[in-house]
C-alpha cells in the first residue's frame, strides 16, 4: 500500500470550473449567505456532538451525578476535557473565517444535547430527579474564551488569558447549581452533604467509594480553600491544553489530498 501526499494544485487534470455557476452579483451574495447557513451550524453541531461523546467517556460520572461533583477532581478535570474540541474548532473558524465563535457555538450545542439527554435518559428512562443529573454549564466560560480571541486576535494570548480563565471560571460559574447540593444534612448520627444523602436514596453501580473518584485524603481538612485551589490548577493546565489542541486543530483543518489510496 502506498500513500502519496499531494497539494491542492497537483492534480494531473484540469479542475477549473466548467462555465459559470451564477448569473449576477445578487446570486453571489445569496451563495455566500448560503455558505454561512451551512458551515457554522454544521461544524458546531458535529464537533459539539463529538464533545458530548468525548466528555461522557472521560468525565461523564462527574457530569451525571451531583454526589460526584466534589471540590477537587470535578473543577480540575471537567473544564480540561471540555476545552479540547472547542479549541480544535476555534483554529478552523479563526484561521479560515476570522470568526471567534467556535467555543460559544459548541457550548450551546453541547448544552442543548445534554439537557435533552438528561431529561429523556435519566429522568424518563431511569427515573432520576432532574436536579440530581443537571449537566454542567460552560457557555459563559466559552464566551470568555471567544471574547479574548476577538480582543487579542492571537492564539498565543488567547491560550494564556482565555484558556486560564476557562479553567478558572468553570466551577464558579456552576456554583449556583451545585451549592444547594453541598448543604450539610444530618442523618441519624452522621453529617453529610445533601448530594451524598440523595446518592444513598438512588442506588447506582457507581456508588461504592472505591469506584467514586471524589476528594479524598488530607485536603478534606482544608475547609473552603480546596475549590479555588483546584480552579487555579485547572486554569494553568487549561493553558497547556489550549496550545496542544490548537496545534492538533491545525492538523485536523488541513485540506490535504492523497493522489492515490492504495
Amino acid at each position: 500500500m502506498s500513500i502519496e501526499l499531494g497539494s491542492t494544485e497537483q492534480g494531473e487534470i484540469s479542475r477549473a470550473p466548467r462555465g459559470k455557476a451564477l448569473n449576477n452579483v445578487q446570486d453571489q451574495v445569496q451563495a455566500w449567505r448560503n455558505a454561512d447557513l451551512f458551515f457554522f451550524p454544521l461544524i458546531s453541531i458535529l464537533i459539539g456532538g463529538a464533545a458530548v461523546f468525548l466528555c461522557a467517556l472521560t468525565v461523564g460520572d462527574w457530569s451525571y451525578w451531583m454526589d460526584w461533583r466534589d471540590r477537587r477532581w470535578w473543577p480540575l478535570l471537567t473544564p480540561l476535557l471540555l476545552l479540547v474540541l472547542p479549541t480544535v474548532a476555534t483554529y478552523a473558524f479563526w484561521k479560515y473565517f476570522k470568526l471567534p465563535v467556535a467555543a460559544t457555538g459548541l457550548a450551546l450545542g453541547f448544552w442543548l444535547s445534554q439537557i435533552i439527554s438528561r431529561y429523556v435518559n435519566f429522568y424518563l428512562f431511569t427515573a432520576f430527579p432532574m436536579n440530581w443529573v443537571m449537566p454542567e454549564v460552560w457557555i459563559g466560560a466559552a464566551v470568555v474564551l471567544d471574547a479574548v480571541l476577538l480582543i487579542t486576535r492571537s492564539f498565543a494570548l488567547t491560550g494564556l488569558v482565555g484558556g486560564f480563565l476557562f479553567g478558572l471560571l468553570f466551577s464558579a460559574m456552576n456554583w449556583p447549581v451545585v451549592a444547594p447540593m453541598h448543604m450539610p444534612v444530618q442523618l441519624g448520627d452522621t453529617v453529610m452533604t445533601l448530594a451524598d444523602y440523595m446518592g444513598f436514596q438512588y442506588i447506582r453501580t457507581a456508588m461504592p467509594e472505591y469506584v467514586r473518584i471524589i476528594e479524598a485524603g488530607t485536603l478534606r481538612t482544608f475547609g473552603t480553600n480546596v475549590a479555588p485551589v483546584s480552579a487555579f490548577v485547572s486554569g494553568f493546565f487549561a493553558i497547556l491544553v489550549y496550545y496542544v489542541f490548537i496545534w492538533i486543530g491545525s492538523k485536523g483543518a488541513n485540506p490535504a489530498w492523497l493522489k492515490k489510496l492504495v
Binding site: 466548467r18 451525571y64 435519566f122 453501580t205
Partner: protein
Amino acid sequence: MSTVINQAVVAPAATASEAPRPPWRLAFTIAAIALAFVTLVKWYQHTFSWTVGTDSFSPEFQVYWMRIFYAQIIGLPLLGAIGAAWLWLTRDRDIQNLPARDELARFYAMFSILVVAAIVLISALGLLTEADAAWHQVVVRDTDFTPTHIFLFYLGVPAGLGGLVMAWIWVHTRLPYFANRVSLPLSLAIIGFMMAGPVVAFNEWAHTFFYAEELFGAPVHWFFVLAGFFLVFLIGFVIQCVQRMYELTRGYSLEEVEREMGLTSR
C-alpha cells in the same frame, strides 16, 4: 433510475438560467424521517428495556432484543454494501465536464441535507450514549448485548459506518473537485470511525471483568474517545468544500458584493 434520483436529489433547482438553491424542503423531509426513526428507537427502548430487557436468559429477551440484534448486525452491513456498490456502479464517468452550476447544486444538496440531518444524528448519538450510561447505573448487566448496547453499538456503528462509506464514494464520484484524488481528512474521519469496531469488541470483552460496577470515565472506554476524536478531520473536509465553493461563486469583486449587501466599502 439513477438519473431520476440524481436530478431529484442533487440538482433540485438548477435550470439553465436559474442559480442553484439549497433544497431545504428535501433536507427537512430527510431530517423528519430520521427524527421519526430515532423516536421509534427510543420508544422501543423505553418500553421493552424494563419489561423484557433485564434478564438475558429469559425467552422474552431472545424475542424482543436478540432478534433486533441479529437483524441489525446482518441487515445493516448488507444495506451498506448494496448502497456503496450502487453508488460506485452508477458513478459519472465524465465527471470532470460537469457544469459549474450543477456542481454548486450538488454542494448545496450535500450541505443542506448534512446540516439538518446532523442535528438529528448528533442528538441520537448523545441520546444513545447517555442511555447506556443511565441504564448500566441501575441494572447490573448479565450479557454484553444489553438493551442499550444493542442500539448504541449494533445499530449506531454499522449504520454510521455504512453511511460514511457511502458518503465517501458519493463525494469522490459526484464532485469533480474530488475526482481522481482522495480527500485525506474525509478518509481519516472514516478510518477513525472504523476503529469503533475493534473498540466495541475490546469494550465488551473488558466488561466481562467489570460487570457489577460502572465507571463511565474508565480507561476501558477511552479508546472510544480516540475513535470519536477523528471526527475533527471533517473540519478539513469542510475547508476543502469551502475552497471549491469559493471558486465556483467568486465572479464579482468584493466591492460589488459589499455594495449589494449594503455594507460600506473598506
